[in-house]
């Protein structure tokens, strides 16, 4: 039990450190775009979804409407995430209202990677609060230090986050249907990325669920196609 906790704390610290650095890049970029100082702070607390924040910062000055639409599309995946995670954060209204706000890709991945249902709730809150805090600390550092924080890509952090997600979903890939659904979904998303606006390709990954349609119906489909 104690070792599980310690591992979780260590993992949380690793992802938090990366989050501070990327948050700092976000803060610095927002200022570099000439946006007022309060903009990155407000985004990191009120929106709290890194990808959409980077996207919106680039669009905000030119077209606030486009920034909102693109950001909402990118964040639409949180709806199926919420359904999958459900009441992990707790069943009280307070838990749901606060817990929903700290839901991110990383929190969902950490939570689903935790097999013990009683440990899940703790994982959700620990990772959620840690990431919210570190993202906002990072944003503040970026705003204060500006371009001095440097580019997070030169630190290789753009590789750290996909690798972290992969490590977290790997255990669930032992289940064959899940593996096929996930691989099909990932392939569809990558193929769709050059042609669809940001956010939609990842949602298209849900089409991977079609691989679950059983053989009898798929052979019926193919015979229909032949006819």
């Amino acid at each position: 039990m104690r070792t599980i906790q310690r591992t979780l704390l260590r993992d949380a610290a690793a992802i938090a450190a990366a989050m501070v650095a990327v948050g700092a890049s976000f803060g610095a970029i927002a200022i570099a775009y000439g946006l007022p100082t309060w903009v990155p702070f407000l985004m990191s607390t009120v929106v709290f979804a890194g990808g959409s924040q980077f996207l919106a910062v680039g669009l905000l000055a030119a077209s606030p409407v486009a920034a909102v639409l693109a950001g909402l599309l990118l964040n639409a995946r949180h709806f199926p995430f919420g359904m999958a995670i459900g009441s992990v954060m707790g069943n009280r209204w307070r838990d749901r209202l606060i817990g929903s706000h700290v839901m991110t890709d990383e929190v969902v991945a950490f939570t689903l990677a935790e097999p013990d249902p009683t440990q899940r709730r703790r994982t959700y809150w620990l990772i959620g609060i840690t990431l919210f805090t570190s993202w906002n600390i990072g944003t503040a550092l970026g705003v204060l230090l500006g371009t001095a924080v440097g580019d997070y890509e030169s630190l290789g952090l753009d590789a750290a986050f996909p690798a972290a997600l992969l490590a977290l979903i790997l255990p669930s890939m032992r289940d064959r249907p899940t593996r096929i659904v996930a691989l099909a979904g990932a392939a569809i998303a990558v193929a769709a990325t050059p042609v669809l606006p940001a956010g939609l390709p990842v949602l298209c990954a849900l089409l991977g669920l079609l691989t679950l349609i059983r053989r009898p119906s798929s052979s019926r489909l193919s015979s229909e196609a032949e006819a």
């Binding site: 949180h78 459900g86 690798a163 990932a186 990325t193 298209c204």
Partner: protein, 102 residues
């Protein structure tokens, strides 16, 4: 205008987060849906990992990032600790860029 845009984006994102959570608690989930939802989440996360590994915008992200992620993935597959996976992926990509490979 900028303030309104950020607040609307924040409220919209929050609504989608909370909406999924509440929908699940409102409608009783059938057994098959309970089995399907973690798969859906896994597919979304796999797609996020794959697209953010390979693509920058609509174009290929270059070699440093995918190679870094690949090193992390192999380590994860060999059951290396999470911290090692994350640090090795970042270090690989950073060193490749330092060596001039984009």
């Amino acid at each position: 205008m900028m303030l309104a845009a950020i607040v609307i984006l924040g409220l919209g994102t929050y609504t989608m987060r909370l909406g999924g959570v509440l929908l699940r608690s409102r409608v009783g989930l059938s057994d098959s849906l309970q089995r399907l939802l973690p798969m859906a989440a896994a597919a979304l996360l796999a797609a996020l990992a794959a697209t953010s590994t390979l693509m920058a915008g609509a174009a290929f992200a270059g070699f440093a990032r995918p190679l870094g992620v690949a090193v992390g993935a192999v380590l994860a597959w060999r059951k290396a600790p999470f911290v090692v996976v994350v640090v090795a992926a970042a270090a690989t990509a950073a060193l490749l860029r330092l060596a001039g490979l984009e």
